[in-house]
């Protein structure tokens, strides 16, 4: 019933964001040493405290070992063979979008992220990051009226140095892990969001990351601070051109929610995944962590991971404040030779904290998809609760799905529930749908979409539609 050839035909669906923008860039020499870090810091005209932060992180990184515990196999990364700073050449100061190189605007247009005034996405403010630098941020004035700061992190370093100095590295310390230390040493740009007390951010904020150069890594850093009783929804998207070399992406995202604040962070990750033979693709090593510092604060991660050759990503929540809430909703799809080791950590520290984990993994082709999560109840987390659900769907008999949930409890007055299941798209179900006149492809897509519904329901509307389409596209024909 299931047509093998059809499968192969459609799997060849090309990656539509794989083009390269031909633009003059300013790069520094390959390799990593203290001078490179000083040069990056100098180019960005950073204050001394940030240079010290970078150098300290670099020293720590040099002493650390690349982690090997994840269920991932990839060729060794030569950290001296990477360009750590690459920026499109443009005029010194840009006062309006009109001065941005038209080629860049065109690039983002092609990616479906129009930045120009007349085409701006309604009600979504975008910070567009191209290789190592942020090139434009939309709706800034409108946001400023509400006191919301939304800009690139380089600008924030210049204009809001006090906030950066106070919060940078407080959630993900420089020595947290190998990739976070590397990012702390060389991060070039990223987004900064500050929502003042009592403000409900009037529109969704969004960052769009684009890697353009084949030999440079992208190391962005995002910092979001939600003051008391504020709330924000933040979206992140990523794409990269097709190269037959692997490009390193090591990002750090830090979220801080104070009393009654809420942050919703959604990602649709569609970096180039490499070809069917596994050549090329992005190595995506990301550290994302949120700190629910205040009482009744809430951090919610939702992610749709479809790209990258290697994904190593565990968006986490530190639940410190009383009655704080952490959520993690994830769909991870791997096809061909992609490998993903992703999950979350919910660390319950304060009393009456709650967390929910819903993870859906879909593995097709020869790919490997692992859920790795930690739920920990500390000694003071009385009355806390966690519920986790991890479901895997296997498509084809070459793909693998692994589940590694680590659960630790030191608090009797708390409850942890975890459940996981594995299933496949059964021929019976497909037959049933086809007998009702639904095309094979559509039937598969319907079933995958149903499988992921719990997660898609959590995504902001624009993203949910995109994610559904993306999944259907990536999976088309991979049922065999």
């Amino acid at each position: 019933m299931v047509n093998e050839n059809l499968v192969k035909d459609v799997v060849k669906e090309p990656y539509k964001y794989g083009f390269v923008t031909d633009i003059e860039t300013e790069k520094i020499e390959k390799g990593l040493n203290e001078d490179v870090i000083k040069l990056i810091s100098q180019k960005k005209e950073e204050p001394q405290f940030l240079l010290d932060f970078r150098l300290k992180a670099f020293k720590k990184w040099q002493k650390m070992k690349e982690p090997d515990w994840a269920a991932l196999g990839y060729k060794k990364i030569d950290y001296q063979d990477i360009i750590y700073y690459s920026a499109p050449k443009q005029k010194e100061k840009i006062s309006s979008l009109d001065e941005v190189d038209p080629k860049l605007l065109e690039t983002f247009d092609k990616l479906g992220i129009p930045l120009t005034e007349q085409k701006k996405l309604t009600n979504v403010a975008v910070d567009a990051v191209f290789d190592s630098v942020s090139i434009a941020t939309t709706f800034r004035e409108e946001l400023a009226e509400h006191g919301v700061i939304f800009c690139s992190i380089s600008e924030a370093v210049k204009n809001h140095a006090d906030l950066i100095e106070k919060y940078l590295g407080t959630v993900v310390p420089a020595s947290d892990n190998y990739f976070a230390a590397l990012n702390s040493a060389v991060f070039s740009d990223g987004s900064f969001v500050y929502i003042p007390k009592g403000v409900r951010c009037p529109m969704d904020l969004s960052s769009y990351f684009r890697i353009n150069s084949g030999d440079s890594g992208q190391f962005e850093r995002t910092l979001i601070i939600a003051e008391e009783s504020s709330s924000v929804s933040y979206l992140e998207g990523c794409t990269a051109p097709m190269f037959d070399t692997n490009t390193l992406h090591a990002a750090v995202v830090e979220l801080i929610a104070l009393d009654d604040a809420s942050i919703k962070y959604s990602t649709v990750q569609n970096w180039y995944a490499g070809d069917e033979e596994g050549i090329g693709g992005i190595f995506n090593f990301v550290t994302k962590r949120g700190k629910c510092l205040g009482k009744r604060s809430k951090i919610s991660w939702s992610q749709v991971e479809t790209g990258s050759a290697i994904t190593w990503k565990y968006p986490s929540c530190l639940l410190l404040g009383e009655e704080s809430v952490g959520e993690f909703y994830s769909v991870a799809l791997t096809n061909n030779l992609q490998q993903a080791d992703t999950g979350t950590k919910m660390i319950h520290i304060g009393p009456k904290t709650k967390s929910t984990i819903v993870s859906k993994g879909i593995s097709a082709g020869n790919s490997k998809n692992s859920y790795r999560g930690l739920v920990k109840m500390g000694t003071k987390a009385t009355g806390s609760r966690n519920y986790s659900q991890c479901d895997s769907m296997l498509i084809g008999d070459q793909a693998s799905a692994n589940t590694f949930p680590y659960i630790k409890s030191q608090q009797p007055n708390s409850e942890i529930e975890h459940e996981a299941s594995t299933c496949r798209i059964s021929e019976d179900q497909l037959f049933y749908l086809q007998s009702r006149g639904i095309e094979f492809e559509e039937a598969v897509s319907m079933m995958v979409s149903g499988f992921c519904r719990d997660v898609f329901n959590q995504l902001p509307m624009e993203f949910a539609a995109e994610a559904d389409k993306l999944l259907a596209l990536k999976l088309e024909g991979s049922v065999g």
Partner: protein
């Protein structure tokens, strides 16, 4: 290196059996397991080193711990004491494995050993002298229930090894009892080979006294159409590890496991299970329960491995845990590694305390809090205890668990 030196001093190279030589040689390259590896990282290091600290000088005292009278219908064997056995009935036969059979089998097993997974077995086989290895070949039907005892004497580290071949079409009921005296360490390794159409109902009851330690490892190979049922209970050990490795070598086999560990004071008891499905149509139903009180630590790590060949596997694993004290801790990690697509696999884990609503309900009916807790615990224990075969009634395990501590 200390433990190896101890074995060597105790037994000069001339007195070592061939198995001991091979295992010692392997142990030499890693005298201790890698304590940072997944299988060992949660082990309490000082408790482990304390467990290995006892003398290996075979102070094999007579087994004199209190245990129920033997019933006439049960075959009772004590490893290290009365291992000479040959029972031939018209329906069945139980015979000792010949030395060459034993050697061949153990050598074959050793070739699959992995230093971290099988460290406990390597240690066991390095220590086990001829008298402490019991190898049996069982066939036929209507076999009387069998009880096999292992024990460790005070102030010593004793190793006991049990190897059983269940030949084609036989049904066996076996209760294995591991007892630890005061200040003792018992290393118990068990190897079962279940041939086609055979079934084994296996019970493991392990308990100690003050400061007893246990390294208990169980290796089962199931051929097609075999059924293996395990009910296990571990309690009252200062430090205990129960490692279960089951391989359904051709698939088409059934495995049911119901295990429980109870920790009090500052004890640490851990259960590690690894189930390999090396063929299609395998079935597994596993439940592991832990109860941790006082300052104790209970650990469960279970892994289910379903490679491409194991289509139509149906496996489920559940870890249920009760945490009864503010100072106790529970770690649990049920894990699945799946490559085959046409499988049904699920796992679940819960950690909680006694159900407050149920307690409240019982108290409104005039039952004291203590009694109500006992009632809840007994239902929690009963599910496992009722699965342990043979002498479970005579042993009165429930009473031991509820009233002795």
């Amino acid at each position: 290196m200390e433990i190896i030196e101890k074995i060597k001093t105790y037994k000069s190279i001339d007195n070592q059996t061939e198995i001991q030589k091979i295992c010692l040689d392997k142990l030499q390259s890693s005298p201790l397991p890698n304590l940072r590896s997944e299988q060992w990282r949660l082990s309490n290091k000082s408790k482990l080193s304390n467990c290995l600290d006892y003398s290996v000088y075979g102070n094999n005292s007579k087994f004199d711990m209190p245990f129920p009278e033997n019933s006439q219908s049960t075959i009772r064997l004590i490893i290290g004491e009365n291992c000479q056995i040959k029972l031939i009935d018209k329906n069945y036969s139980i015979q000792q494995l010949r030395e060459d059979e034993l050697l061949k089998y153990i050598k074959e097993q050793i070739s699959f050993f992995n230093q971290n997974d099988n460290w406990s077995d390597l240690l066991n086989l390095s220590l086990s002298c001829k008298n402490n290895i019991l190898g049996l070949k069982i066939n036929g039907s209507k076999i009387p229930p069998i009880e096999i005892f292992s024990h460790a004497s005070s102030n010593s580290l004793n190793a006991k090894t049990l190897i059983i071949f269940c030949e084609k079409n036989c049904n066996v009921e076996l209760l294995q009892v591991n007892l630890g005296e005061d200040n003792s360490s018992l290393s118990q390794s068990t190897f079962f080979c279940l041939e086609e159409n055979s079934s084994l109902n296996h019970g493991v009851v392990s308990y100690g006294l003050n400061k007893s330690n246990l390294l208990n490892s169980l290796n089962v190979i199931q051929q097609k159409n075999s059924e293996y049922n395990l009910g296990s209970l571990h309690f009252k050990f200062n430090y205990a590890r129960f490692e279960i490795r089951i391989k359904q070598s051709e698939g088409n086999a059934r495995t049911n496991i119901k295990g429980m560990q109870i920790t009090k004071k500052d004890e640490q008891i851990s259960t590690y299970t690894k189930i390999d499905f090396d063929g299609p149509n395998g079935f597994l139903d596993q439940i592991n329960k832990s109860l941790a009180d006082d300052k104790s630590h209970a650990i469960f790590e279970g892994s289910i491995i379903v490679p491409k060949i194991a289509q139509k596997t149906d496996a489920s694993q559940l870890s249920r845990n009760l945490l009864l004290s503010n100072l106790a801790q529970i770690d649990t990690k049920p894990q699945l590694e799946i490559i085959a697509d046409d499988v049904k696999c699920k796992h679940g884990a819960t950690i909680s305390q006694l159900n407050e609503e149920e307690l409240f309900y019982m108290r409104t009916r005039g039952i004291t809090l203590k009694e109500a807790s006992k009632l809840q615990l007994s239902s929690y224990f009963q599910e496992i205890i009722s699965f342990i075969p043979v002498s479970k009634d005579r042993w009165d395990l429930l009473d031991k668990l509820l009233n002795e501590n």
